[in-house]
């Protein structure tokens, strides 16, 4: 007697795509890094909202955060720009094709230090664009120096104390003209998903500052973004 096994129906979104169509390459970031959780939320949100992958363009600068667009939306357009210069590249691309949905992933170094000037001008222009700051307060890719969002008084593993006050990227975004400003924590799946979906639906600049603790250089007693 033979039995016929019917494969389970494919789970697809409203435009008929499986979640696999929204995934990217395997991550090379440290295990437990908050950036990986953010990439997972991006995949889920674009899948659940049924956005065509080839109608999305992803942009980034330099840093651990800026590597992460390789780990989501593998079928979308992408441009990895110069350190801190992602906003001008994205502005040009979005102006040339306003049918594209743009998403940029940057870090606190890329945004609040070398790219601060570009960030400020992006804020005042209200470009329809999703700008995600993966904020961990350190330059992880160069082994953990303080960034401009590190809290005053926080301490590096080497014992160096940060004497400078931080920039609050959300306060800057509010002051300079962004029309959607939010903050989340990389581990808060439910909240981050809801914020990302709202940003996808928003017609204007969405700035999302995501606190994303660095497991290697900024996750110890006295570190910024953590309070013992």
């Amino acid at each position: 007697m033979s039995t016929t096994v019917t494969p389970p129906p494919r789970k697809v979104n409203r435009i008929g795509f499986e979640v696999l169509s929204y995934k990217g390459a395997k991550t090379t970031l440290c295990a437990g890094c908050g950036h990986n959780a953010i990439s997972e939320r991006v995949v889920e949100c674009f899948y659940e909202m049924g956005v065509q992958p080839w109608n999305i363009a992803k942009f980034s600068g330099i840093g651990c955060s800026s590597k992460s667009p390789a780990y989501f939306l593998g079928l979308s357009h992408g441009f990895n720009g110069v350190h801190g210069r992602m906003p001008s590249i994205a502005t040009g691309a979005m102006l040339a094709n306003r049918t594209i949905l743009g998403i940029g992933v940057t870090g606190d170094g890329d945004t609040a230090s070398i790219g601060l000037g570009q960030f400020m001008h992006l804020l005042r222009r209200n470009l329809p664009f999703i700008y995600i700051i993966e904020d961990n307060g350190v330059y992880g890719l160069t082994k953990g120096q303080f960034s401009a969002t590190a809290d005053m008084g926080s301490k590096l593993k080497t014992g160096v104390i940060n004497d400078l006050p931080p920039f609050d990227c959300c306060a800057l975004a509010l002051r300079c003209g962004a029309t959607f400003v939010a903050r989340s924590f990389s581990g808060d799946k439910k909240q981050l998903q809801a914020i990302l979906k709202a940003a996808i639906a928003h017609n204007g600049l969405s700035v999302i500052d995501v606190i994303s603790p660095c497991t290697t250089f900024n996750d110890h007693e006295g570190s910024t973004k953590s309070y013992s």
């Binding site: 440290c30 295990a31 437990g32 908050g34 990986n36 959780a37 502005t91 979005m94 102006l95 040339a96 094709n97 306003r98 049918t99 594209i100 222009r125 209200n126 470009l127 329809p128 082994k143 609050d168 959300c170 306060a171 509010l174 002051r175 003209g177 962004a178 029309t179 959607f180 400003v181 939010a182 903050r183 989340s184 924590f185 990389s186 581990g187 808060d188 799946k189 439910k190 909240q191 914020i195 709202a198 928003h202 017609n203 204007g204 606190i211 603790p213 497991t215 290697t216 996750d219 110890h220 007693e221 570190s223 973004k225 953590s226 309070y227 013992s228």
Partner: protein
């Protein structure tokens, strides 16, 4: 070994950590324990928060910072401001798909400019 040789990098071990996953209550301060045992104090905005006022948003951020809390949620939304594309009167179609007739001014346009400069 040369005298000026200095160690620029040291080999280190990156331990394996699980992703942190939390579900935090709205309107309250929650302590999230990070991989090393240190804590992040997160305050999630409550449902009564109105994201339409920019100055309320700035005040809320300032107050949270003074208390050593990380405020999360949507602080501000404005759906009425024109976008950069609207301000520049950009075409709806991608620029690369526009026909030559739309991107190249006719001979008469050049004639008009030349006439103005005479």
């Amino acid at each position: 070994m040369k005298e000026h040789d200095e160690v620029l990098n040291e080999l280190d071990f990156v331990p394996f950590y699980e992703d942190i996953s939390v579900d935090l209550p709205e309107g309250e301060v929650s302590e999230v324990v990070l991989h090393d045992g240190s804590k992040l104090r997160i305050k999630k905005l409550g449902r009564d928060y109105d994201p339409s006022d920019k100055f309320d948003a700035l005040t809320a951020l300032d107050e949270a910072q003074k208390k050593g809390e990380v405020l999360t949620g949507v602080f501000y939304i404005d759906t009425t401001k024109p976008t950069f594309m609207d301000m520049l009167h950009m075409e709806d179609a991608p620029l690369a798909t526009l026909p030559e007739a739309k991107v190249r001014p006719p001979k008469e346009a050049l004639g008009e400019v030349m006439e103005e400069l005479r």
